[in-house]
């Protein structure tokens, strides 16, 4: 058995399956049919020891695909105005996540499988954009490729279907593919350095009794960096491997620790998740609130939007107290940032000054690190 971007066996396997992809890319042929076959093979090889996970992932795929197909048929026959159908479809689409994530009264963690949170969000995006009239056809192979694309299977990044299909359907000219290939290989090397070099180093130092584990403050910074190098490194490798298959999976991180505000941080940290939530939760919620004139005040609408959006972000990670608190913490920080930026003349006066920007980076960095400490569970389980 091999572990997704986790052991030497996977990288040997990856190198072998990439060779035909490179040949297809350099000869300007479509990589997608081969990529889909490799993705299915990879899943089978990775989950060979866990028939249960394999079966669950298979059921998930069949269920979501059938739902998308039926949803589109319904929309074509009855138009796009049926709110009840829309809500029902989204609820059913979210069911796999809703059954496996909660911890408490209703709990089926054994129904979980690799990448479920990431895959479900991709499936929901397709359903929502069908309702919006942006996706008007359902191709089973394209849908399978989007959901099961193996470089991003276990932990994203969360790509979008229309963007993904564009890459999968149109092989780039040779020189463009060469650039993608070069970039992809470099990112995989860099990502491996992040994850297995720096990430492992922090992990080592965070273990019980070692240097960074001894007090809460060193643990907090150590954990924050470990999270970044581990997840950032994985994401970079996933994006790099995608490039080799001609898919421009979006980057997930962009220098998060030099963010000048919490809002800016969410444009730099786990970007594909935060943009997904921005587009499918925040924007849609605030749009509904504005259209129905629920709040008189623009700021109130924004603040409710931030709180709900970030709480969903927290719960998406799991329903344990640490994740809900993490979401709420960021929701409150976003709300306060919004108040501060819109109400205080001080901000407007100094926001472009170098000293102010540097100070903002330092303050944001510490707020973010405290958030990771909540996320780590050390505060809630100690």
């Amino acid at each position: 058995m091999i572990t997704h971007f986790g052991d030497i066996g996977f990288f040997v396997y990856l190198t072998v399956v990439m060779i035909p992809a490179v040949w297809l890319g350099l000869t300007q042929r479509r990589i997608a049919p081969y990529g889909l076959a490799v993705s299915i093979l990879t899943i089978v090889v990775m989950l060979a020891d866990s028939k249960r996970q394999l079966a669950l992932l298979g059921m998930f795929f069949v269920g979501e695909a059938a739902l998308a197909w039926a949803h589109l048929r319904f929309l074509k026959a009855n138009g796009r105005g049926h709110k009840v159908e829309r809500r029902l479809v989204i609820a059913v689409g979210l069911l796999p996540l809703a059954l496996t994530k909660p911890s408490g009264l209703v709990e089926f963690p054994s129904l979980g499988f690799i990448g479920i949170s990431y895959l479900t969000f991709r499936a929901i995006q397709v359903l929502l954009e069908m309702s919006d009239g942006l996706i008007t056809e359902f191709r089973l192979t394209a849908y399978a490729y989007l959901l099961l694309f193996f470089p991003t299977l276990s932990a994203g990044p969360i790509d979008r279907s229309r963007r993904f299909d564009q890459d999968a359907d149109n092989p780039p000219p040779r020189d463009v593919y060469q650039r993608l290939l070069g970039q992809g290989v470099w990112w995989m090397v860099l990502g491996a350095g992040y994850k297995f070099g720096l990430g492992s180093l922090f992990e080592y130092a965070l273990a019980d009794g070692r240097l960074l584990s001894r007090n809460l403050v060193t643990y907090m910074y150590g954990y924050g960096f470990q999270l970044f190098f581990d997840f950032g490194g994985y994401s970079l490798m996933a994006v790099g491997a995608s490039r080799v298959f001609g898919i421009r999976t979006p980057l997930n991180f962009r220098y998060p620790f030099v963010a000048e505000s919490i809002k800016d941080f969410w444009n730099r940290w786990h970007i594909t998740l935060s943009f997904w939530l921005r587009d499918y939760v925040f924007s849609r919620l605030t749009m509904a609130l504005i259209k129905r004139k629920v709040f008189k005040n623009r700021s109130t609408t924004a603040q409710v939007g931030f709180l709900v959006n970030m709480t969903v972000m927290g719960v998406w990670h799991g329903t344990q107290a640490q994740y809900i608190l993490y979401g709420l913490y960021h929701g409150v920080l976003m709300l306060l940032t919004d108040l501060y930026e819109t109400r205080l003349p001080f901000y407007k006066r100094f926001k472009s000054a170098m000293w102010y920007r540097l100070l903002s980076i330092v303050v944001t960095f510490h707020l973010v690190m405290f958030g990771f400490l909540i996320f780590s569970g050390r505060l809630t389980t100690a």
């Binding site: 919006d132 942006l134 924007s283 605030t286 749009m287 259209k291 609408t301 924004a302």
Partner: protein, 83 residues
Amino acid sequence: MNEQQRATTSALITQVCGSDAVLAEPDLDLLEAGLLDSLALVELLVGLDEEFGLEISPTEVEREEVSSVNKIMAFVEAGLSRS
């Protein structure tokens, strides 16, 4: 796009960006200048729906498509000519 529609769009942009000055610099990048955040974009879309009946979902428009006053004008013009 007639004068009336142009004036309505200008008023809408001024309102959602919270600044009259943007009209004087129609190529200014509103995203970079921090004048068109996620909520402002939603307000713009709701405004276009209310004023012109243009129903646009948040992911139908790429941010770069509406990142300046001129681009918004072109976007509205394209929308009106389709409807």
